[in-house]
Structures are given as C-alpha cells and as structure tokens.
Subunit: 161 residues, 2 copies
DNA sequence: TGCAATCTTGACTTAAAAGTAAGGTATGAC
DNA sequence: GTCATACCTTACTTTTAAGTCAAGATTGCA
C-alpha cells in the first residue's frame, strides 16, 4: 500500500512539466533526469509510458522535448498513478485490484470486495488533486490537502459497519 | 499504490483466525496455508511477522497453533498493513512514507508532503475497518450471492475450498 | 545532403521482493 | 523420559520490478 518508486518519480517528472507549462517551455530528457537525480534512460522510460498514455506530448529532433498534453489543471493524480501502474488511463477494470489477480475462493472470500473498495477510496482521493494544485507555494499544497480531508470525510467507506 | 501479495495474504490469514476466534479454536500452519493455497513455509513466515508484532499468539507443541492476540473487533487494518509492510504496529515514523526516503529537493519540491498526506489518508481509511467488520462483509456477500444467484457456499464456517 | 540533437524501443543487468527448504526448539501425550 | 507434533529461525532460490545500455528513428539546422 505504498507508492512505488516508479509512481513517485513519474509524478515528479510530471510536476516539472507542469511547472514548465506556465512558461511555455518544453523539457528534454536530460533536463528532467538531471532535476530528479535519475538517469536519462530511466526518465526516458517513464516519459514513454506517460506519453503512450496521452498525458505528455513528445517532440523529436533538435529543439525537441516533452510537454504536458493537457493543462496541468486537467490532469488528475488518479490518472497518473493508474498509468504508472501499467493500466491505460481510461480503463478501471484491473487497476487497484491488488497483486493477486485471481482469488482462489472464486470471488466470495469476503476480503476481495473490501480490497477493491479500499483502492476505490484511494482513487477518489487522488482524483481530487490536479498537477496544478501541486505547483508553487506551500499555500497551494495546503489547499490541496484540505480538499483531500474534505473528500475523505464525506466519502467514508460503507463496509460492515 | 497497491496491496502487495504479502499484505493481501497476511490479511487473509488474519481473517481465518478471526473466524476461528468465534468458536474458540486455534489454527495450525497447515490449516491456514491449506485454505489460502500457499505453502506452510510461506504462511509460517507471515504468521511469524504477525506474532512478532503482537497481532497473533502462537502455541508450540502438540495441540499448538495460532490465535488472534486480541478480539477481532479490536484489530484495525491499518495496524495489519503497517506490520506487513515491515514497520512495528505502534510506530508511524517511516510507514506510508513511500519508497524514496530522501527527497533530493530538500523538502521544497511540493510533492513530498502530498505523498505523506496521501498515505495518511489511506491509513485513516484502514483504521476505520476492523477484522470483525470484514467478517460481517463476508456474511453480507454470502447472503447476496445466495439471494441473487441461488449459490450456496460450500462450508460456511471455513471459507471455500 | 550531412550532421547533431533528441526521442523510441527492445534487450540486458541489477536489486528487491516473494517464496522455499531445512534444521532447531518448545510442548504435550504416553 | 521419549517421541511426535508444531512453531521458530535462518539461509537459500526463484521471481518480479527497477534501472541501464545501445542501436534505431526522426527532426532541425547549416
């Protein structure tokens, strides 16, 4: 129940692009990798995943680089995490379903729906945060966090109780 | 942002013990492993982690086995997940902190507090669910399946298989 | 046209998690 | 006291995820 390294790095790369979007720049792999302290090869892999999913746009050749495919205010964290987990941004069938694809108890073991619901809670929380909210000042971060809390309290799990 | 295999199996093993608690039984490793379809060695590893953390009690020798250390209504999922992630059940210092311990941007990168807070949300959600509530969910699922599909689960007290 | 910058893609290497094996140790029954 | 049962613990193997490398493809510029 943690963010994987890939998820965290991917988020950070997107945050860089969101920052660059405000000035209209595009960023090269080496720029992105340099700021995150990871190799260009690794950053390239992440950006390829993100661009394949339609979250970023790439331009080849000299003066090429990466930009966000949409406004940073239109990119929600649940899409990002889903993509970085290896699922397409639109689909929601397998995402957040846990590592064990098949339940040996044919779906009626009781814990499965709870796990799915649990992941849904996480998804809802992430869906309320956009890249633009992550940008800039501590005030923005605080605003995002307060919004999370509001969502969490109004969207309490309805299991068992 | 998924449950690891270890987390999911550990939860399932605890659910078995919670079920056994209602009849005062204890379960041996081979019983637990058999029901989950995993090896006794693997189940033993999980149970050792859980007992070391004080969530289950073990009894050696003939007639030995495992029982919950507390009432199933007093064991919350956040404790379980934390333990299965490798952190002590009481502490909260490193748990849910993500894989990347240090942020190369010395804390001002904006994403770090959000990630920490995100994991806190998950923790809060998990803290509201107890093992006994999972048993209730299981019963609900059982009833729903019976009502909708006319399916009856094979052996009610012990799940499936 | 040719060169340099840059993304693209598949294969490879490395690190971490998951799972297995086996011997050790405590307990209860006889 | 002896033996069978069943947990305890460490070390090992397998599997999967993470990260790297290198060759290829595309674009802009001189």
């Amino acid at each position: 129940m943690k963010l994987s390294a890939q998820e965290e790095y991917g988020l950070r790369c997107l945050l860089q692009l969101a920052r660059a979007q405000t000035t209209g720049e595009s960023l090269t792999l080496s720029q992105i990798a340099g700021q995150e302290g990871i190799s260009s090869a690794n950053a390239g892999k992440l950006m390829w995943i993100l661009s394949k999913a339609g979250l970023v746009q790439s331009t080849r050749g000299t003066k090429g680089g990466y930009t966000l495919a949409r406004l940073s205010s239109e990119i929600h964290l649940n899409q990002v995490i889903r993509v970085l987990e290896g699922e397409p941004a639109e689909s929601h069938c397998k995402s957040y379903a846990g590592v064990l694809d098949a339940c040996i108890h044919t779906g009626d073991c009781g814990i499965r729906p709870v796990i799915v619901e649990l992941h849904q809670i996480v998804d809802n929380a992430l869906a309320e945060i956009t890249l633009s909210q992550l940008l800039g000042t501590e005030a923005n971060v605080d605003a995002a966090l307060h919004q999370i809390h509001g969502v969490k309290r109004s969207d309490t799990p309805s299991m068992g109780a």
